[in-house]
Symmetry: C2
Subunit: 368 residues, 2 copies
Amino acid sequence: MGPGTGLDAGYENGYTAVPAVLLNDFRGDGAVASGTATIRDVARAAEVSVASASRALNGHHSVTPATRERVLSAARALNYVPHIGARSLSTRRSNTIGVVLPDLFGEFFSEIIRGIDLAAHRRGLQLLLSNMHGSADETALAIRAMRGRVDGLLVMSPDIEADFLAANLPSALPVVVMGARLDGTGHASIVIDNHAGAWAAVEHLVAQGCTRLAHIAGPADNEDALERVRGFREATRALLGDAAPLVLPGDFSEDAGVAAAGALLARGEIDGVFAANDIMAIACMVTLIEAGIAVPEQIAMIGFDDVPTARFVTPRLSTMAIRIADLGARALDRLVEAIDDPSARAGEPDHVMPELLVRASSLRGGRP
Amino acid sequence: MGPGTGLDAGYENGYTAVPAVLLNDFRGDGAVASGTATIRDVARAAEVSVASASRALNGHHSVTPATRERVLSAARALNYVPHIGARSLSTRRSNTIGVVLPDLFGEFFSEIIRGIDLAAHRRGLQLLLSNMHGSADETALAIRAMRGRVDGLLVMSPDIEADFLAANLPSALPVVVMGARLDGTGHASIVIDNHAGAWAAVEHLVAQGCTRLAHIAGPADNEDALERVRGFREATRALLGDAAPLVLPGDFSEDAGVAAAGALLARGEIDGVFAANDIMAIACMVTLIEAGIAVPEQIAMIGFDDVPTARFVTPRLSTMAIRIADLGARALDRLVEAIDDPSARAGEPDHVMPELLVRASSLRGGRP
DNA sequence: CTGTTAGCGCTTTCAT
DNA sequence: ATGAAAGCGCTAACAG
């Protein structure tokens, strides 16, 4: 893991649990098939009640060292593995977090999952993944299907109407929403400051001497994308006096980037492009270069997100960087807080401020 | 999704379940908080027994249309959401697959997860994710922690000794192992033909006129990586008469690629590089180019995996392509087969043959 | 300290 | 067709 991600902070307290029995030095070299014996078998073998077995297994202090040892060795002998499902039914704790995402495609989501996983791993939590492949109804379904198996939900669905989302969020379960603000619903949320990010991107392009900007937009139903367009428009008007800058349609996909490059080529005149995400920026840039355009000399490019790939393209891509994995980790941390203290209603959304990351794709030494 | 991935095949039969009640046209717009009422509440409200409620909710045919309607509307009114955890305890079915991976970093794993998710989604299965962050003991732990919550396990851990792995796999649970062959354990597996892939890479480089090859190796404890080195060595000896070709150490990381570039620069003479994975190839290539080396003219490059990024670098990276997402999907499909028919012992491992994908980074028109 | 007894929420015989 | 009751495997009072 790279330095400075802030993800390797130490253990935190609070909602965190690794069942004691799982931490035994069991290495599965017993003779019996694992996953078969129940706690009753263990109790019988150790000649104690299931209650004592349970206590011993879970490290409760109220057990004689002697019986504890009997139970433990019986468990070992039987290759006992606790049935976590049953345990959570009884304790009303699953030590599992449900993660609901709109898509699993692309580095943005994999980075987010990585961040969530890292934070979850620190606390001994498991992740139940659910991806909606787009549809709103499926999202609702996915969310409902998590009932009784998770202690909390991490939901990201920037393209689902907030109202619909709010209506389908189980109010009994702690939820953190990523990417959409759900004010007044009592759910915590964490949002990216897209507008400011877009503005900063335009500002940078202008500082590099660009005067004819274009924006490659994200999906029309995506809140983040919409805010980026808005920021772009306002900034070009304010900074360049351009009230009707070119906005090319897009959908965060590679294809959209390629198509945008085609449009740019056909039109000419544009000397700076701000894409709503990195993947479109990269696809567009590669296409432009192959068509003989010099980047950044003829057209400067800047993206949004800072996915890992941005560093590997030639020229390296400037971008409005979000520490994506960090974002996921923060979301999980907030969720854990909410689980720890269910009474605390969520306050203001957490804000994530994208950071201008200047690399070669936009650096052409205009005004410094 | 790109064309030709083979991932969008239609529904298959077999182990597939979406609980009926979840498919109702419920849209969560009721007045009561969801996730609160139990089936007893529903039964009481509908004035029937819980048994009947259960039957109605699950679409059993032995219910009067009248009572079914009463139950359903009661459920709707109460905003009832079934407690899946309790259901699986009772049915011994969780409709969940446990996925155990060694790492979540990099595009290889995110692609694999995407493939698994796609296939799982088709069958209405959920994914319980678990990542070991390296340690073997953690792997064992993660596997045991899945007991009672999953119907089957998808395990990938090329850097864990096969014996240890086999000892810790629950024999009661269907398991498909990716990337390591566990013959004779009764577990299905699916492996990449690394040796042949490496050989093909060398063959291609030689055909392009390269005569002094180097290999950037993967981790020393990774089976896939080891096979790639072996293939590389054998091929260079056979094809080039080079019995002791340069093998640079690596660990599949970006840094390793950069370090390898340094070594290459210091040494000179090498005119073709085969890296054990794409990320090292890309990092190495970018570093070489920035140092003034012409790729592929002075040094031809080829990687392994075909991660999405390989298409975006300049020059585009040649690679031994694996359809990674496909691999994940296939693994899940095999697992589902095993769940469907637990009696069938696993046969031979599935083989995945990497495919030579020639892009600009290795194309220099030597012998055609 | 230990055993007995209830559940957790749901499905499922087995009667009726 | 419906209901009563017995679990699924585990934990948690409550007594002893």
